[in-house]
Amino acid sequence: MAATSMAPTDQAEKHPIGLTIRDGVKVYPGTRALKNVDFDLRMGAVNVLVGENGAGKSTMMKVIAGVERLTSGRITIDGRDVVLTSTKDAARHGIGMIFQELNLFPNMTVTENIFITREKTRAGFDIDMASLREETRALMRRLEQDIDPDTPVGDLKVGQQQIVEIAKSLAQNARILILDEPTSALSAAEVEILFRVIDDLRGQGVGIVYISHRMDELIRVGDYITVLRDGAITGSQSMEGVDIPWIVRHMIGESSKDFAKEIAHDFGPEVLRLEHIRAPNSHGSFDVDDVSLSLREGEILGIYGLMGAGRTELLECIIGGNTTYKGEIYVRGERVSDPSVAGRIARGIALIPEDRKRDGLIQILPIRENMTLSSLSALTKGIHLSLKRELGVVRDFIRRMTVKIASPEHEVSSLSGGNQQKVVISKALMTGPSVLLMDEPSRGIDIGAKAEVFRVMRKLAADGLGIIFVTSDLEEVMQLSDRIIVMSNGRISGMFDIADATETKLIEASARGHGGGHGGGHGSGHPPAQPHSPAAGPEGRGTEIHAAEDASR
């Protein structure tokens, strides 16, 4: 599929550059998400984009899709400078983006979804349904899909819904199509269909940007590859000669950052043991499939894996947020029988959820009340809550965790991501846990706060806490863990001691078993992990939400 050896001029002829970014800089308060990037988007080809969490992939694509604006730099389309101020604006220039979380109305039909806000009307108000239906049929023929225009979108499979999203973009004459981790929720068969659609579109001259973490997919589908690291482009070339080690090298860099020096300490006795945990999902398969593991005091166990691998769901089983799982959990050798979260907290388990905004914090309550929410009983005599003691404990944690705040009475939503995360960690630590579960603890926080969070983790482990932390960041998992478990499709697909773990081994293990009909990532009610960018919220269904989230950080 990929063009075989061609001279540069050949490339330019076959795959003309449709869009370029020159010297693109994007600054968010506290972070530079893009640092002078130069990017060429080639038409009639698949331009793949890789990079770790927060490397800037999504930011760059949002700039192209009109969701975000460059702080400085130029975007040109077909040689002309353009300023894209909104998604509508971008659509006018033939750019469509399909977000990881689909942006559809499940209660409306395929036709209604495709033409939403652009309905063809007679006399300005009467919707010409027949002609829209005909156009939908034509689009489906173009995509070679057999989807009835009158089916409610909610009745379609996730893969078909994605096709509808693509049709929606094509209906607006999209010439550039951005796909953000399109396969993360698809089964193997659906992935094949999507790839065929991508192939067709490429043949029709559409320029496709393809973001994914799955290396084998990238190599299979891509014509050109661009690697981002920390907001800068570290590699950009045609796909020819590119293999997984090449990608990993450019993603991670030669010299890796040092997050925290190892404080040498011995592990204590076993503090947590899981036996055959299985969590069914609503699709008849398992989010977590027969996971057994053991954790010792003072040990940091990293769980690496792709989105939808079942990592978040596993932690939910341990904390008691999921009550439908089967299997046994032991804390310090004793079986945990209380299914409630409160019971688990009482047994010394604490969770730092992946999505701070949705699961970790109560945004409209003050910092103080958020911090003590899990440990109020310790501050209560009879039914009387001692506000004085509460404030004392809160002050103590603010100091220990170096949370930067003006007043503990301010709403927690006024804090930056890093400080919010420290509030969540404080809340968990106040319960006096012996096992700490951390789900993507560095997500959406800047590099300084990240280093502090990691320092705290090290120190807690040295103090004898057992820590399980979930991450999609290779570097992080390699730096912090004493032991690494890789999950794929709900199963443990690899277990490595830190001494013999390598990036390549982890990536290979994380792709193992994919395409095994795991279609349940979405819609199962659980938040799918979203490893690609801190800027994209999990509820990032629409562009407005994305923008608002970024602004609030």
């Binding site: 914090l361 039914i383 804090l415």
Partner: protein, 353 residues
């Protein structure tokens, strides 16, 4: 947000000042309403009138206190008006008939026992609400709309739509003191006002100084996060709806005692007045925010406004319009306050760097 480092100090001050005024707005409104009517309406400030007005207000305020907890927890309780009616009928039935087990004799109750039973009925309806909402996953609006009709219908059925009159009680059974609830006083202050004070203090204490209160706010602010923090969400919801039912039962008793009669249509649309008082007092309909003190002041604003307008001779139709305007205005100002509050906090945070 990024460039506000130096000139913030002065702006923070003026912002905080404005914020303070906005926060106290319901109280300021109450004072304004008071001052206005003391000039515009004759005898408005007489002790007798103040007592009468307070008795009117107490009914709505007690309902609104229960409603405030429900709204803070992220729900709504439309059934309180019907519970008032049903509980009044239960009280009337117990005084007139006792409980007839069909054995040729009946059980009669004294006033205290009647109060307990009636309170139990209110709490029970609240528990049904909570059951529907937590276990059967019915939206609070729909669940309590259902119990609104059921309770009202039950009240009608209890007397075939007739009024239970002459609830003077029977000294033999110890129920002759029933009238004291509505007509009696302690230290010159009516019993219903004392009940308002007691319920108000209790609720305010719960909300500010107990884990339970904190959990109510947490559930309303973010139910998922609260659950993951170990809050027993179901239990909290049971408490708020049962407490709301209890408040409604108390109001049912007060009205039945004041009128010495109970009519099954009593309490119709009371739930709307209770919601209005809570909202006027700064309770957020989306949950997580609100204060008992604010709600009581809100109930006073509504009560004083309507009584004052009556005394001025304003038509009942205009009264309704004015009440509506006040509520809408209050919510608009509330929005402005929220925005300002967030801005002040962000600025203070930005000043830290």
């Amino acid at each position: 947000m990024t460039d506000t480092t130096n000139p913030t100090a002065a702006r923070v001050d003026s912002g905080s000042m404005l914020l303070l005024i906005l926060q106290a707005r319901t109280f300021i409104a109450l004072i304004l309403v008071f001052v206005f009517f003391s000039f515009a309406a004759p005898n408005f400030l007489s002790a007798a009138n103040i007592v009468i007005m307070s008795k009117h207000v107490a009914i709505n305020a007690i309902l609104a206190i229960g409603m405030t907890f429900v709204i803070i927890s992220g729900g709504i309780d439309l059934s309180v008006g019907s519970i008032v009616g049903l509980c009044g009928m239960v009280a009337g039935w117990l005084i007139l008939n006792g409980i007839n087990l069909g054995l040729g004799w009946s059980i009669q109750f004294n006033t205290f026992e009647i109060v307990l039973i009636v309170a139990g009925v209110g709490v029970l309806v609240g528990a049904v609400n909570a059951f529907l909402i937590t276990k059967l996953n019915v939206a609070p609006f729909i669940a309590t709309l259902g119990t609104l009709y059921i309770a009202r219908g039950a009240a009608m059925l209890s007397s075939e739509g007739r009024t239970f009159a002459n609830l003077n009680g029977n000294p033999e059974y110890g129920s002759d003191t029933f009238r004291w609830i509505g007509a009696g006083d302690m230290l010159g202050i009516p019993v219903s006002i004392w009940m308002l004070v007691a319920i108000g203090l209790f609720a305010a204490y719960i909300s500010r100084r107990t884990p339970l209160g904190r959990y109510i706010y947490a559930v309303g602010g973010n139910e998922k996060a609260a659950a993951l923090s170990g809050v027993k969400v179901t239990r909290i919801k049971y408490f708020v709806y049962m407490f709301s039912g209890f408040c409604a039962a108390m109001v049912g008793l007060i009205i039945a005692s004041q009128l010495v009669a109970s009519h099954p249509a009593t309490g119709d649309t009371f739930e709307l007045n209770a919601i209005a008082a809570a909202v006027l007092g700064g309770t957020s309909m989306s949950g997580g925010r609100g204060r008992i003190g604010g709600t009581i002041v809100g109930a006073f604003v509504i009560g004083v406004l309507s009584d004052g307008l009556v005394m001025m001779g304003v038509s009942a139709f205009w009264q309704t319009v004015i009440k509506g305007l006040v509520i809408v205005g209050a919510v608009v100002i509330d929005q402005a306050q929220q925005r300002l509050q967030a801005k002040v906090a962000l600025r203070a945070q930005a000043a830290l760097g």
